[in-house]
């Protein structure tokens, strides 16, 4: 028997790892990720903490995919970025045929950093463009100009040809024309992949407060619907497959790391606020930057919350996550992963939802239809209600 077949299944044993890098040049008004602004002097301390956390693995764990998210990983100065890359590659060596993805902000990216990333095996970059309209970038409180993206793409392309562009739609005052223009400009930059995110008003953010006070007005449901379906149509027409609720890719360029999440497979997570799912246990690290560093300095665990779900709850959770994918839920695979026959849990509901053309079912796979994608939250809620 080869070593590979001795491995436990991917929903128990992680083959993917996420590393959170919280530092940003400034805090965008809509963002509620674990972000550290004005704490640049703590970068080394943070890396020390990250090192301790990685050391808790005991031995290096080879992985198929690595993902640096943030925050803004590329905000780290070259020296520190290199230290981070060294550290991570030591504890999380990459298997052959790996994917190593990094999130980047166009504002402070330069060729040297991109080259450094590539030297360490980074082969996927996602660029947070968000919009190409100066007015909308202002509302989003972004610190880059529309042209920055094209400038960055010029030197990224030869080094890391697999780059993705993040766009946000549904920004206050945004019109359908502006959204079409954003997509047109982005497509012209020839990325392999798109993430289109509907702007979410996260409780506690500046944007949320502005909406509460009435300073900005959220777009109505109908407009958001048109934006979302416009993304589906425009990107499909340009050769991007809509493979997950918010993600589009050219053939062969889907994000493998993110697929781990959508399959409800196991993954490691390191860094402040990071989530992990190892051996059926979900854990979240503290979101408090200083607490994270302090705990690891003191030799304590940074875990803030830990839970093991009952098999039935896990099976329902798997339904909701896997449905985000265009391939949806594959019955046989679902049974192997969860121990439950899909139809024994939600057969009737699936049948009803197919009747409304919200789900499609070919007997093997169940997936959201186009209209189902538009109301995916409601569909999931209906399915989970059977629990």
């Amino acid at each position: 028997m080869s070593i590979h077949t001795q491995q436990r299944p991917p929903w128990l044993e992680p083959r993917a790892a996420y590393i959170h890098v919280p530092f940003c040049a400034h805090h965008c008004g809509y963002c509620d990720f674990a972000v550290a602004v004005g704490k640049d002097d703590r970068m080394d301390a943070y890396l020390d903490a990250l090192k301790s956390e990685l050391q808790s693995l005991g031995t290096p764990r080879p992985v198929d995919t690595l993902f640096f998210g943030g925050g803004t990983p590329t905000y780290l100065p070259i020296r520190i970025l290199e230290r981070l890359l060294q550290l991570v590659r030591t504890w999380l060596p990459l298997n052959a045929g790996h994917e190593f993805a990094v999130e980047a902000n166009p504002s402070r990216l330069d060729r040297a950093k991109v080259q450094l990333l590539a030297d360490f095996g980074v082969n996927r970059l996602s660029l947070g463009a968000q919009s190409f309209q100066p007015g909308l970038l202002r509302i989003l409180e972004r610190d880059h100009a529309p042209d920055d993206v094209a400038r960055v793409v010029e030197f990224v392309q030869p080094i890391i040809p697999n780059y993705s562009i993040d766009l946000i739609f549904g920004v206050p005052t945004q019109t359908l024309d502006q959204w079409q223009d954003d997509m047109r400009q982005a497509i012209a930059l020839a990325p392999m992949h798109f993430a289109t995110y509907g702007l979410t008003y996260e409780k506690g953010t500046r944007l949320w407060k502005q909406r509460e006070k009435g300073d900005v007005r959220a777009l109505d449901e109908e407009t958001e619907y048109y934006f979302y379906t416009a993304a589906m149509d425009t990107l499909a027409a340009n050769g991007f497959e809509h493979y997950e609720i918010s993600n589009f890719a050219r053939f062969g360029f889907q994000c493998r790391h993110n697929h781990t999440y959508w399959a409800n497979h196991a993954h490691y997570g390191f860094g402040v606020g990071a989530a992990r799912y190892v051996d059926g246990v979900r854990e979240l690290n503290t979101r408090d930057f200083h607490a994270y560093i302090q705990r690891l300095q003191a030799g304590e665990s940074p875990t803030f919350q830990s839970e093991r779900l009952e098999p039935r709850d896990r099976a329902f959770e798997t339904i909701a996550v896997q449905l985000r994918r265009a391939i949806g839920i594959e019955r046989q695979q679902y049974f192997e992963q969860t121990g439950f026959a899909l139809d024994s849990l939600v057969g009737g509901t699936i049948h009803d939802l197919c009747g409304h053309n919200l789900l499609a079912d070919d007997g093997q796979n169940v997936h959201l239809t186009r209209s189902g994608k538009c109301v995916a939250d409601a569909v999931m809620e209906r399915l989970l209600r059977a629990n």
Partner: protein, 600 residues
């Protein structure tokens, strides 16, 4: 402890709602020293939580007080009664334990519908009426006009009317004197075989059933073997006593006295109100005339929001029934709502109170369906079917005659509102009977009306038309044939049985249109379009559409943090709790009551 019958006076305080019965009872308790200032609170006898919260009396409250008049100590047994129409059964039962009543009339509001109704009840029982104008301390009174109203409507001699204030204590002494002097003492013989009327009962969690008795003849003692004459069940008396107002034990109760008996009776079902208690060893030949059990006026379905809580609901209703025998419940099954109970109530207030008590005491979440009255169908094969639920209406082809309950309704209104009331009654299919003037400014209008047109909202309509000055009362006359149909509601092509109503054919289209419109506002948008239709048989008479929701997806960057997401889902699920899924549509509790308000 036995008091000579000549020194006993038994009376109830009766009046229209809010005319001050409980407050007057307070004064009686205070001025006779039954209760000290220190232990006093307003409307002391209103001891139930709901009575205190709502500031109304729901159940009768007996209390024994002692009063000295001209050097002689009298035992007065008074019963404070509720004024609200729904509880007039409590008044009837109280009266059967008395020889007289104090009839209170608010010195500003004057004679009102329940003043007349309750005064007539007292007359039927041959009781001595001691009339009194209450609240004479008010700045604004209409004393002379009201004296005239009392004379015209009830034949009361103005010279006999006392003037009191339960609030300030004016005239209380005179009222007590009048009771002693005018109300006759009870007549039964203390040495005859025991006959005691069971006029009420309540269930005490710690002590079991407490039976309220009025001893008519003979006497009852601790340790005595007694028999309940209707079923012949025998018990040993463990304790007897008086309400002062808490339960105070005594050695015996003899002819004319009022008090309680505890005899290890486990459930209220074993004692029926109106029964006669006699002594096993020396039984009376004949039982006393009892009461007629009141028939429920309105029915509603009560369903647990969570289907698996059916048995819990059964238990909760059973517990409540121990304390209130006047509501009924029977298991029923609805396609849409699952298993629940069809409950009968004395009126809308009673219904509301029972619902609140069940929810409060059991913690269950309930869906309550729209109320309906009982109909009767004479079928083609000569059978008479009682319809306490629209589901029971047979197919049109099998109906020979459809009948509805009719009441005689009396309205007391200011003269200037007569026209409005008549218009309202005509709209509601009323048959005009007569108008009588109480005084130059106020009149009694009498109509025959279908109960269904009266019971849900007529009172509110009357109040708003008369700016609060109109009152009404009604008595059931019987069933009468009418052109009635069952109006069904279809949600997303499924008939929702719990939304069906029975209406007069002439109003069916209008009701149907209003109802579907109302429902449209109550049901949230779903992932698909929902048609709401009203139908009579297979004929659709109205339709509204709820358009599908267009976008409901959080298309956000989605990392591994599913815990937060899961919280969101369970929050959404909690929001759906007070809903019932019928077919594939979530129908909120409010929708089941939409029928009630579809007129506005």
């Amino acid at each position: 402890m036995a008091t000579k019958t000549s020194l006993i006076r038994n009376f109830s305080i009766i009046a229209h709602i809010d005319h001050g019965k409980s407050t007057l009872a307070d004064q009686f308790l205070l001025q006779t020293g039954t209760i000290t200032r220190r232990n006093f609170q307003d409307q002391l006898l209103d001891s139930m939580d709901l009575e205190r919260e709502r500031g109304i009396t729901i159940r009768m409250h007996p209390v024994t007080i002692y009063y000295e008049h001209k050097g002689v100590r009298y035992e007065l047994n008074l019963i404070d009664t509720p004024g609200h129409v729904d509880f007039s059964y409590e008044v009837s039962r109280s009266l059967a334990a008395c020889e007289g009543v104090i009839l209170l009339v608010d010195a500003f509001q004057g004679v009102q519908a329940q003043t007349v109704a309750n005064a007539y009840l007292a007359m039927e029982h041959d009781l001595k009426i001691v009339p009194a104008l209450n609240k004479v301390d008010l700045q604004m009174t209409r004393i002379d006009a009201i004296l005239a109203e009392m004379e015209t409507s009830l034949g009361i001699d103005p010279l006999e009317v006392l003037r009191v204030s339960g609030k300030t204590g004016i005239g209380i002494e005179e009222a007590l004197q009048a009771i002693v002097e005018r109300v006759p003492p009870p007549s039964g013989k203390p040495d005859a075989p025991l006959r005691a009327l069971v006029y009420n009962s309540h269930f005490d969690v710690y002590r079991g059933v407490v039976v309220y008795v009025r001893v008519k003849e003979g006497c009852i003692k601790k340790g005595m073997k007694i028999k309940l004459m209707s079923k012949g069940s025998e018990h040993e008396v463990l304790e007897i006593g008086q309400f002062r107002p808490g339960m105070v034990p005594c050695e015996e109760l003899s002819a004319g006295q009022v008090g309680y008996v505890m005899a290890q009776i486990r459930s209220l079902g074993d004692v029926h109100v109106g029964d006669t208690v006699t002594e096993t060893n020396r039984p009376a030949a004949e039982a006393l005339a009892g009461y007629k059990e009141p028939k429920p006026m309105v029915y509603s379905g009560l369903y647990p929001v969570n289907n698996h809580e059916f048995e819990d609901l059964r238990e909760a209703l059973g517990k409540l029934k121990l304390n209130d025998s006047s509501f009924t419940y029977m298991p029923e099954n609805s396609e849409g709502l699952g298993f629940g109970f069809r409950c009968g109530f004395l009126g809308m207030l009673h219904r509301e109170i029972i619902q609140q008590r069940v929810e409060r005491e059991s913690g269950l979440e309930l869906i309550v369906t729209a109320p309906n009255v009982t109909y009767e169908v004479l079928s083609r094969n000569g059978e008479i079917i009682s319809i306490d639920n629209p589901q029971k209406v047979p197919d049109a082809g099998q109906i020979e005659e459809f009948r509805e309950p009719i009441v005689k309704a009396s309205f007391i209104v200011p003269k200037e509102n007569i026209g409005d009331i008549m218009k309202l009654c005509t709209e509601r299919r009323g048959i005009y009977i007569r108008t009588e003037y109480l005084s130059p400014t106020r009149a009694i209008i009498v109509y025959e009306l279908p109960l269904a047109e009266v019971i849900y909202d007529l009172y509110d309509k009357l109040k708003s038309l008369t700016h609060g000055y109109g009152t009404m009362d009604y008595d059931v006359l019987g069933f009468r044939s009418a052109d009635l149909v069952r109006l069904d509601i279809l949600v997303h092509k499924n008939r929702v049985d719990a939304l069906s109503i029975i209406v007069h054919r002439a109003f069916a289209d209008q009701r149907g249109r209003k109802l579907v419109k109302k429902l449209r506002g109550e049901i949230d948008r779903h992932m698909f379009e929902i048609a709401i239709q009203a139908a009579i048989g297979s004929r659709i008479i109205a339709r509204e559409t709820i358009s599908a929701m267009k976008k409901d997806v959080t298309a956000k960057c989605y990392g591994g943090d599913i815990t937060r997401k899961r919280k969101l889902w369970s929050k959404q699920a909690a929001g759906k709790k007070r809903m019932k899924m019928v077919g594939q549509v979530d129908i909120p509790q409010e929708a089941f009551l939409a029928v009630l308000e579809s007129d506005q």
